[in-house]
């Protein structure tokens, strides 16, 4: 009823192929962007912005990256954490070696390093399929993490083995390093995310995205239709790792400020994988919803009793949080194995036919 395309006519294929062909969607997205750019920085508490929004958006970026690989190209990866690490270490090295170049440039450039590494570890995907491929990415995960610890050059031989975000600014406003305001960091993250999401959506809707999905859905048929599997898969690894690398660099520069290799462990890989699955494989909106759920919800649950003034031992809160999240994951998989993205679609469908049930 409220959500119908009736009366909206498309006058060309370009219109029909737009991201949001329906007017209500376009209005919706404008409202969301306005909230994200104006309301959140103005009314959000520093805790909300820095502990919930920033990591959530950064992890969304990683989730988009993994979604490109797993959701669009159908290749499972458990090495996301390490690919993010590559981005973080690359950005750290670049930013310290060339301090005069704007840090945003390096954040974006660092993705290319993880893309390259991603391609190397993507090579076995030609022969190895499905869950078996997980071992190749696990090899990446553990090998890269080992490198982060073992190669002193990566940390500029820091005795603690950790890497830090240097203080850098943009237009005179400090955006990274200690002392950068959460608003500044938030706006950087948001802008990078919006821009890269737009690019991702362009890629997946176009020729390249279609090839990935062909390989995902039926690789033999794709091959018989002239798609060369290896370059297609490697491109997916590259693009995916690029996004993950940028996310890693952002995690270091805009969120933690200082990280050690262990932060890029398999837990992180799993976390991102969760986001992708819960959000919905092969859906960019799903990546947002999934990241919101997996990144923000634990924090909310964890600090909810505190905020509500309920006294509970912190360990119990943590244990219960872990259980709730685990339970919710199972719950949502059961309710809708295709993730929030599908729920979202079904919701839209219901709105469209409202007030009739079908």
């Amino acid at each position: 009823m409220f959500y119908r395309e009736a009366g909206q006519f498309k006058t060309g294929y370009a219109d029909d192929m737009a991201v949001f062909p329906i007017r209500q969607d376009r209005i919706g997205i404008a409202v969301i962007l306005a909230i994200a750019y104006l309301a959140v920085p103005m009314f959000g508490s520093p805790f909300f912005v820095s502990t919930i929004m920033i990591p959530m958006l950064i992890l969304t970026m990683a989730a988009i990256g993994l979604n490109i690989l797993t959701g669009y190209a159908g290749l499972i990866s458990l090495g996301t954490g390490a690919f993010m690490g590559v981005g973080a270490y690359a950005c750290f090295k670049l930013a310290t070696a060339f301090p005069d170049v704007n840090v945003l440039v390096w954040v974006l450039a660092s993705g290319f390093f993880s893309a390259a590494i991603g391609v190397v570890f993507g090579l076995p995907s030609l022969r190895i399929k499905g869950l078996y491929l997980a071992v190749a990415t696990l090899a990446a995960q553990f090998f890269l993490q080992w490198c982060f610890v073992r190669i002193g050059w990566l940390t500029n031989y820091s005795s603690s083995g950790s890497i830090e975000a240097a203080r850098r600014s943009l237009f005179g406003v400090q955006i990274t390093g200690p002392g950068a305001s959460e608003t500044a960091r938030y706006l950087c993250v948001l802008t990078l995310l919006v821009a890269l999401t737009w690019i991702a959506s362009n890629i997946v809707r176009g020729r390249i995205g279609r090839k990935w999905m062909m390989v995902r859905d039926m690789d033999i048929a794709a091959e018989l239709m002239g798609v060369r599997l290896l370059p297609t898969k490697l491109l997916a690894f590259a693009v995916s790792s690029y996004f993950c690398g940028v996310a890693g660099a952002m995690l270091l520069f805009f969120h933690y400020g200082s990280m050690e290799s262990i932060a890029f462990n398999i837990e992180l890989s799993f976390q991102v994988l969760f986001m992708v699955i819960i959000g919905g494989l092969g859906s960019l909106i799903g990546s947002y919803l999934g990241a919101g759920f997996i990144a923000a919800l634990p924090v909310v649950i964890k600090f909810a009793p505190q905020i509500l003034g309920i006294e509970l031992p912190s360990a119990v809160v943590d244990q219960v949080t872990v259980m709730i999240i685990g339970g919710l994951i199972i719950f949502f998989l059961i309710v809708e194995p295709h993730g929030f993205a599908r729920l979202w679609q079904i919701g839209k469908q219901k709105l469209r036919v409202w007030p009739f049930p079908y």
């Binding site: 079904i346 219901k350 036919v353 079908y358």
Partner: protein
């Protein structure tokens, strides 16, 4: 008509909570009958069969209205396993063999619910090989590597192994050589006559189906639009034109199909 072995009363099926596929389908299969469900693609034949065998929930579909009686008992809430135990088994569309199991192992899985001992199972295995000699040749190959037709035989043979009272056959003729199609329907008739097995079959191959069936239902867009004795259906003008391909002037060639479309009368 004797007591129905299966009665489907006015069922409605919804997939994914929003897609309404069956809009009130009713049908009955008499004990010892061969009933065909005919209809175009997407009419809901498969859905009807899955609703009966309770395989729907594995596809996120559910029966929201109506009831299904097998041997007089409501079976909507039974598991597929229980239904097989009670003697109703489905042969799924698109074969669904266990690719990694050998042909023989595939057949043996059909006997999973049986408790009457190895010897009886062996005997039935031989019987199935008797029906499908080609399977005997390929008994040790992995089913995943057998040809499409061979897989269809495996699927049917597997169902026979459970010694059912009623078989739901979904498109048994699809992809089979003409000879085998006839053979399969002969087997259907034989099982029906000698062992009293009832059949409900969904078919596109109307020609054959109406030759072997005793009764037929025609489904369009989730509704039964026509039903009647097989013979009566064969005589129906519309059925003749749209399903049997014989117009007044005899069988027309595929080469000369014209580009016009006559509306089906029952849709008017």
């Amino acid at each position: 008509m004797s007591d129905p072995i299966l009665a489907v009363n006015n069922i409605e099926v919804i997939y994914d909570h929003v897609i309404l596929v069956l809009k009130g389908v009713s049908l009955t299969v008499p004990k010892g009958g061969i009933v065909a469900i005919l209809g175009a693609n997407g009419a809901g034949k498969t859905t009807t069969l899955k609703a009966i065998s309770n395989l729907l929930h594995a596809e996120r579909g559910e029966v929201t209205k109506g009831d299904i009686l097998f041997k007089g008992e409501a079976v909507q809430d039974r598991s597929p396993n229980e239904l097989v135990r009670r003697g109703c088994i489905q042969v799924m569309e698109g074969r669904h063999c266990f690719g990694h199991l050998t042909v023989e192992e595939n057949l043996l899985t059909g006997a999973f619910t049986r408790t009457d001992g190895r010897a009886a199972i062996r005997a039935d295995l031989e019987k199935v090989y008797g029906f499908f000699p080609r399977l005997k040749v390929r008994r040790q190959s992995q089913a995943g590597y057998t040809s499409g037709g061979e897989q269809q035989m495996v699927a049917i043979g597997r169902a026979l192994m459970s010694r059912p009272d009623m078989i739901l056959l979904d498109e048994p003729s699809m992809g089979l050589a003409p000879q085998i199609v006839e053979e399969i329907f002969e087997i259907v008739r034989r099982l029906n006559a000698s062992e009293g097995v009832s059949f409900l079959l969904a078919e596109q191959n109307t020609n054959v189906a109406l030759r072997y069936a005793t009764y037929g239902y025609i489904l369009e867009s989730g509704r039964v639009v026509l039903d009647g004795d097989a013979k009566a259906l064969r005589e129906n003008e519309d059925v003749k034109e749209f399903y049997l391909g014989v117009a007044a002037a005899g069988r027309k060639s595929f080469k000369d199909v014209k580009h016009y479309k006559r509306r089906k009368r029952w849709l008017a």
